[in-house]
């Protein structure tokens, strides 16, 4: 496929910056940039080469070559290690672009790996979950799914499902065995097995739904009246100037997400639009989102300030979500009733911020240590959809079985088999027959 490139390291000043390339005949492609390379590159070898632009050297690089199909993507793959100055990396990207190697879209390397059958869709999804994991524990779960697919909850369900199918096959094709193996081969037993499977599917779906967070990691929402200094605090805590700060109320219009990384996991910080009655459509939407988030995060910081010393009474109830009332702009005034407030802070002077941050990080740590990620939850919405469809066909099958129409029950189950074909990977008939003959001693 057409060659693509992406920087693997972020574009900041650092000793080494890495570019990754994938595509057909990569060695020919990059030869003009690295004329000193041999004409055929060997798999898994490191080459030292100087990038040349119009006759003059640009940078000294190390090139790591993987030959198709033994690479991650299944195509030729090259990693270029260059000096990690962001301007240098950008320049190299531009030179590669000049050779017809375009910038990869997000996830495109994994996509190619999947397209070239290097990884399954399930694996690609686990990989995605792995890369975005907000904590090491989450990462481990995803990695567990990624490295050994039999750990994936979908595989467990698939396995149970195929065994059930094998039972049906046996029951229908070997009636002479019925009396013999009565204990595990009656419609009654099938009924129980179907129910158990249905239940375990529902469990996985529910568990995933429960484990599913709107934000990926321990999330703190900064909310409050307009102009109370939310964006200023957001910037201070993140030590960044991401949010726009202005003396005009109603500056922030949408949720803004920032991330602090701790050894135990990420803290996701959300800045939100100030809550007030508004006619402005965009602001209204921002306010709606802010209010909705109030109940979907793990902690809320409500920012009060001299103009609005108390939270409004329309706040939705925060069931079990830690809620802190903060007094901002303490450099200007102290509240008349300081005991009401959990923290007195100033975004301007940073007063009170260290102890606030300390508190948040403790909360985050407890969160990550108590909510160990379920290894039995699914990786994607697509997987949930697959299971829902599977459950549907299983339910149909069960209702046919209840009325004694086993042939129809099997047909309904076979639709479930197609759902799994789609969602997990094709199931060859021989797989089911293997189960039939391993489960039962059939034949005379």
């Amino acid at each position: 496929m057409e060659p693509i490139v992406a920087p693997v390291t972020v574009l900041v000043s650092q000793p080494v910056g890495i570019l990754r390339l994938s595509g057909d005949n990569l060695s020919d492609r990059i030869k003009p940039l690295f004329p000193s390379l041999p004409s055929t590159l060997e798999h898994r070898r490191i080459y030292r080469a100087t990038a040349i632009e119009r006759g003059s050297p640009v940078d000294d690089c190390l090139l790591l070559f993987f030959k198709a199909p033994q690479s991650f993507t299944g195509e030729d793959l090259v990693e270029i290690q260059a000096h990690g100055n962001p301007h240098n990396i950008r320049h190299l990207l531009a030179l590669l672009h000049g050779l017809g190697i375009r910038l990869a879209r997000p996830g495109e390397f994994s996509l190619r790996a999947y397209q070239n059958r290097k990884i399954s869709l399930l694996k690609a999804e686990s990989l995605h979950r792995m890369i975005l994991a907000p904590s090491y524990a989450e990462f481990q779960v995803a990695h567990h799914h990624y490295t050994s697919s039999e750990n994936h909850p979908l595989y467990g369900i698939r396995d149970d499902f195929l065994n059930l199918l094998a039972l049906f096959f046996t029951l229908l094709d070997h009636p002479e065995e019925e009396e013999e193996a009565l204990s595990n081969l009656s419609p009654h037993v099938l009924q129980d097995r179907i129910q158990t499977l249905e239940r375990s599917i529902s469990e996985v779906i529910n568990r995933t739904a429960k484990a599913k967070k709107p934000f990926n990691g321990f999330t703190v929402l900064i909310a409050g009246h307009p102009n109370s200094g939310k964006s200023s605090l957001f910037n201070r805590i993140l030590k960044d100037n991401r949010a726009i700060v202005s003396p005009l109320p109603g500056t922030t219009r949408d949720l803004l997400e920032g991330r602090l990384s701790f050894p135990f996991g990420d803290l996701v910080l959300l800045d939100s639009a100030g809550l007030r009655p508004s006619e402005d459509g965009i602001e209204q939407e921002g306010i709606r989102r802010a209010r909705r988030s109030l109940s979907r995060v793990d902690c809320v910081l409500w920012i009060a300030c001299p103009d609005f010393p108390a939270p409004p009474d329309f706040l939705p109830s925060q069931k079990g979500i830690p809620f802190f009332l903060l007094w901002n702009k303490v450099d200007l005034t102290t509240p008349s009733d300081p005991s009401r407030y959990d923290h007195l802070v100033s975004a301007r002077t940073r007063r009170g911020l260290p102890s606030l941050c300390e508190r948040l990080s403790r909360l985050a740590e407890t969160y990550y240590s108590s909510s160990l990620p379920g290894s039995s939850s699914l990786d994607s919405d697509r997987q949930i959809k697959t299971l829902r469809r599977l459950r549907l066909s299983i339910r149909r099958s069960r209702s046919f079985l209840e009325s004694g129409r086993i042939d129809l029950a099997l047909s309904a189950l076979e639709e479930g088999r197609r759902v799994l074909d789609d969602g997990v990977g094709a199931i060859p008939a021989s797989d089911i027959y293997d189960r039939v003959f391993n489960l039962f001693c059939l034949g005379k």
Binding site: F168, L172, D173, E180, R418, D422, A426, A429, C441, L442
Partner: protein
Amino acid sequence: MGQTTATIFDVLVVGGGHAGIEAAYAAARMGQRTLLVTMHLDLIGQMSCNPSVGGIGKGHLVREIDAMGGAMGELADRSGIQFKMLNTRKGAAVQAIRAQCDRSRYRVEARKLLDSQPSLFLRQGETVDLGIVNGQIDHIVLQDGSRIHGRSIVLTTGTFLNGRLHVGLDATSGGRGGERATTGLSSVLSDKCGLSLGRMKTGTPPRLLGRSIAFERMVPQPGDNPVPFFSLFSPPNTLFYGGPQKPCFLTSTTDRTREVIEENLDRSPLYSGKIHGIGPRYCPSIEDKIVKFPQRATHHIFVEPEGIDVDEYYPNGISTSLPLDVQEKIVSSIPGLEQAVILRPGYAVEYDFVFPDQLDHTLRTKTLSNLFLAGQINGTTGYEEAAGQGLVAGINAALLASGRPSWAPDRQSSYLGVMVDDLVTHSVDEPYRMFTSRAENRLYIRNDNAADRLSPQALLLGLLPPQKAEEYSRRDSFHRQLRAALSSTRKEGKSLLDLLRSPDYSLALLIGEALPDHFSHVPPSWLSSLEQEVKYDGYVKISNDRWNRMDDLPIPPEILELQLPGISREVHHRLKKERPSRLSEAQSLRGITPGSIDLLRISILKFQHKNRS
């Protein structure tokens, strides 16, 4: 020997087993001058395994063969001593008939049937060579030196190719049941015909003397009443001998059986490594069962009568290749068989087969344009599977000989089609047996509607003699009339047809209550087939709709260049060659199974998904 009319035929069939019978009978019905060559004329139609026809999937095949005017259903009806409808409590789509037959009577009936065909001739002799001229078989050569010419040839040599019998550690060359083996033909097939061969094995139990068996210690297994005969065309009114059905008897192995086998495993050719062929997993030897399922305390044995004139019984379930002294110990360890006398020892047989993916959907070899293979030579087991292939090969041999276009059964509408398609697209890695679970369109291809599905095709091919054609058309017009009456008669505000769809109503009930009496004066099978058709209509439609919905996808041409997971190389190759633009088009291609259409559909969906994101 010169070329006289005695040595020139339209269709030559080699082998007089169940495949050979159907092949020769079909070709003869289609008016071809046909010769069946077999090693022993008296053994035509020999049941070399247990004396039983039908079962789940297999019984479906017999019905289909019958609907096409074939022999097996009628032969079983005319020689049957016990009949049973299986799976009666599991839904009409998976019901099938199984019959116990009188082994020698079956042979007699088979011979009578073939002898009654004016254009069919028999010849005893061993075929030792094939004469090939211009990529075609020109003639066959018999051991006595005669050359016989045919326009097309059907080989149905069963387990006789390079056959080797094992009783204990002694091995002799031979086919089943003490017959001689064909040794030379194997190398002719591989060297001259360019076909690649594999090796399989199968086995039989020892046969027992009836008067030495204590039947009172076993559980009798009676047949059904009324007798469910196979044939749709004027089935007999009684069993051939006029008497009641014969029961089978159920007993089982004991701990002692296990001990005997475990003590003597080293004397089994299976476990001492003397047998290399692949055996069927669904028909294991007793030593296999004991070794593979140690947790199982007992294994069932069905003691089946061999016939009404002989006092011989077939203990189904203890097929073995252990030496005779061990067989005796095994038998005496079984309740009811303590004193049983062995009439013939059990044995295992190893034989060559041709990997069937070297055939097309008419069972013609890809290497020689007028050579057809049918039966166990293609790696299948079972009389019914063999007969079904014999029918398909015989029809096509006749069509080829008469210069007409070929015919292949359709996977969506017959077990015959499922079998042929499975064999030629996926080949086999163990002896192939039909199962109802192999048929995706199971709800439609039922035991009760075989005639509706296949007799019209048989009529077009000229396979139904006038009297059967007439019977089929009477049945068909009866169905039309009854259906019309059902949809025009109303009860409780609904048509009877609609009521019949519900599980709460039966046709018998509706005929008794609301329809004129004359509808009940037809063969019961006519009534039940209409009833099931009405009841399954809706479900069949739903599953067809599902297929059709899937059909609509266009096939992006570039997808055929990718690897298509799960799709066999053969199918992939065919897709690349034919380049269908839509799934529906791909589905209509030869050799493309619904399974592979499904897989292709998945690949297309994934491909689209990728391109969208």
